[in-house]
């Protein structure tokens, strides 16, 4: 028997192959394990390394974390039986104002960043898409920030653009109009730090979503626009509202999902913009920042941190399923 053959071509199976059909003739355990044409073996040779690694570095940690979350585990990953606290960590986490506050911070952050990115990236895509020249140039310029890391962007935002001293760019520009200096990142009333946090992510990710919208725009049939023109739709808002936006529905759903999931995982810009030699300020802590300081900070409270990770994983899994159901049903009706 040669490994692999022509026989998985879907059409009629030649006679000798029929023997391989399940139940056709009794086969040894080993032969059944290998499967017809040793296909099971080949399948696992291809998929096995990846599947095992993914299991080891995703499912095992998750399971271990669930286990740890029932223990009082400071500085240890293998707590003694006497440290069992049941649901204590979950109770502590859900009763902790700082943890709930971090979820609130995420909601607020999402409320800023999702609409802002959506509108800007869609506007960029619409404008770039209608260019007759220099299209590749503008696309590259808006997409280039994708190559930047949050750390580098945070350096530029914190120490140059929104530096609280007078030589910061924003303060320099405001100074030309006679406005006082603003300590952008340490002022909590009004909370100017949101401006810094939101604009840095907006700059980094708008180009990415512009590319998604551009791909969506390319898929809209030009005939739809021609038909709209024949029907007397005025180019501009009417066409946008009645043709372009409905045709972009699938892209929009994907963009919003990605934006929300990514906002939930925000860590880099918060950490790099707000922490300093003294640590992290008590405000503007999204979930991952909170978790980082709980589990890996001075206390190394891995039990509590694990409980937090499990809660966050559950939130994101439930949200994904709900959103997929919701949008999935909507899409089928189209």
């Amino acid at each position: 028997m040669t490994a692999g053959g022509t026989e998985e071509a879907v059409t009629d199976v030649p006679a000798p192959r029929a023997a391989a059909a399940p139940g056709a003739e009794p086969r040894s355990f080993g032969a059944r394990l290998l499967g017809p044409q040793r296909r099971n073996l080949w399948f696992w040779l291809f998929v096995g390394p990846f599947a095992i690694g993914l299991g080891l570095f995703t499912y095992v940690p998750l399971a271990w974390s669930v286990y740890l979350s029932f223990f009082d585990a400071h500085n240890t990953v293998s707590p003694a039986g006497s440290d069992f606290v049941g649901l204590g960590n979950y109770g502590a986490m859900l009763g902790d104002a700082a943890f709930l506050g971090s979820l609130g911070t995420f909601v607020l952050f999402t409320a800023f960043i999702v609409p802002a990115t959506y509108v800007l990236s869609l506007a960029l895509a619409l404008m770039v898409n209608r260019l007759r020249f220099a299209r590749a140039f503008f696309r590259s310029v808006f997409f280039l920030p994708t190559a930047c890391s949050y750390v580098v962007a945070a350096v530029i935002w914190k120490l140059s653009i929104f530096n609280g001293v007078r030589f910061g760019l924003a303060n320099t520009v405001l100074g030309w109009f006679g406005t006082d200096q603003t300590a952008w990142l340490s002022t909590t009333d009004p909370p100017w730090y949101w401006l810094v946090i939101v604009t840095v992510r907006l700059w980094l990710q708008a180009g990415f979503y512009m590319i998604l919208f551009l791909a969506g725009l390319q898929r809209i049939s030009p005939q739809l626009y021609e038909a709209a023109a024949v029907d007397g739709a005025r180019p501009g808002w009417q066409v946008l509202r009645h043709i372009t936006l409905p045709q972009l529905r699938a892209t929009s759903v994907a963009v919003v999902l990605l934006l929300v999931i990514n906002a939930f995982q925000a860590f880099d810009e918060f950490y790099n913009l707000l922490s300093d030699a003294r640590g992290y300020p008590p405000y503007a802590r999204p979930p991952l920042v909170y978790l980082y300081y709980t589990a890996l900070g001075r206390d190394q409270n891995l039990g509590l941190g694990s409980a937090g990770a499990v809660i966050l994983a559950l939130i994101i899994a439930v949200a994904t399923v709900v959103q997929a159901r919701w949008f999935g049903l909507g899409r089928k009706e189209e």
């Binding site: 022509t6 690694g53 095992v60 974390s65 404008m127 930047c148 945070a154 001293v165 030589f167």
Partner: protein
């Protein structure tokens, strides 16, 4: 009348694009301006477009600061990004091909188990992953920084989708010639699927170079810092040296800007694949 309106609209659109493009380029301008300035020029009152004298010596000086091990960090980042890219692409493409092409009765179960991990992003499980890696004794090692990140369900998904649409005739011809799955994969499939390898590879490379949370948690010793962790640590240093920080940040994005400009069309293709779930 109508023509004049269209022309005015087009001019307005071009003008807004130019303004937005300039705004988008400001951060890059600031990297260059501050990176090539003296400390006094940066902190001087008033704004000069560029410093009076460009301080090119900043570029060499930054590599000699013991508080900012830039050379070592760049080396670490390169090792990590290259090995992560090669490993991810190899593992995910093999798995994607197996799932797409090798008939196996439980293939769906395996596929959904892989897909399910997309619902719980790695960033959320960094505490459990840290627990595992630290109990393996992999803290501050290249192994610990690379191996746990090699198994990307996203990359596997992209490869599977691509191979599902791969022309089957090519593979069938190879089978007729007596090639098994393994040799068909390496001799026929890989050479004809270069665009998807380039797309996934560039995206993984950028992600690995820019990754921060995992290297911060795992690369605790100074010898294991990536360039992102080194920059971040230097940002919170007591006597912050601004021109040095900016020139280091500028140096750190050079490899990516080069990759980006050379391989942009593959990155665009990869981004397009990443967003659309059909």
């Amino acid at each position: 009348m109508h023509d004049a309106l269209t022309r005015a609209g087009r001019a307005l659109r071009l003008a807004s694009l130019i303004v937005l493009a300039l705004l988008f380029l400001i951060p890059f301008y600031l990297l260059v301006r501050n990176g090539l300035a003296t400390e006094r020029d940066i902190t001087a009152p008033g704004w000069t477009l560029f410093p009076h004298t460009l301080q090119w010596s900043n570029l060499t000086e930054v590599f000699r600061d013991p508080n900012l091990p830039l050379g070592r960090a760049l080396l670490n980042s390169t090792l990590i990004a290259v090995s992560t890219t090669l490993g991810t692409v190899l593992l995910a493409s093999l798995a994607g091909y197996g799932l797409a092409r090798i008939p196996f009765r439980r293939a769906n179960v395996v596929f959904y188990a892989i897909l399910g991990t997309l619902m719980v992003p790695a960033a959320v499980t960094f505490v459990p992953s840290f627990v595992l890696v630290s109990s393996l004794g992999w803290i501050s090692t290249l192994r610990g920084l690379v191996i746990p990140t090699l198994f990307s369900a996203f990359a596997c998904f992209v490869f599977r989708q691509y191979f599902l649409g791969f022309p089957k005739e090519l593979e069938d011809a190879a089978r007729v010639d007596g090639l098994g799955y393994w040799r068909t994969y390496w001799r026929i499939v890989v050479p004809n699927a270069r665009p998807v390898f380039a797309a996934v590879g560039t995206i993984v490379f950028i992600g690995a170079w820019n990754a921060f949370l995992w290297p911060l948690v795992i690369g605790q010793d100074q010898e294991a810092w990536t360039v992102q962790v080194a920059l971040s640590t230097f940002t919170t240093a007591q006597n912050l040296n601004l021109h040095e920080l900016f020139v280091a940040a500028g140096v750190s994005i050079v490899p990516l800007v080069v990759v980006f400009l050379l391989l942009q069309r593959y990155i665009v293709a990869g981004v397009e694949r990443s967003g659309i779930d059909d």
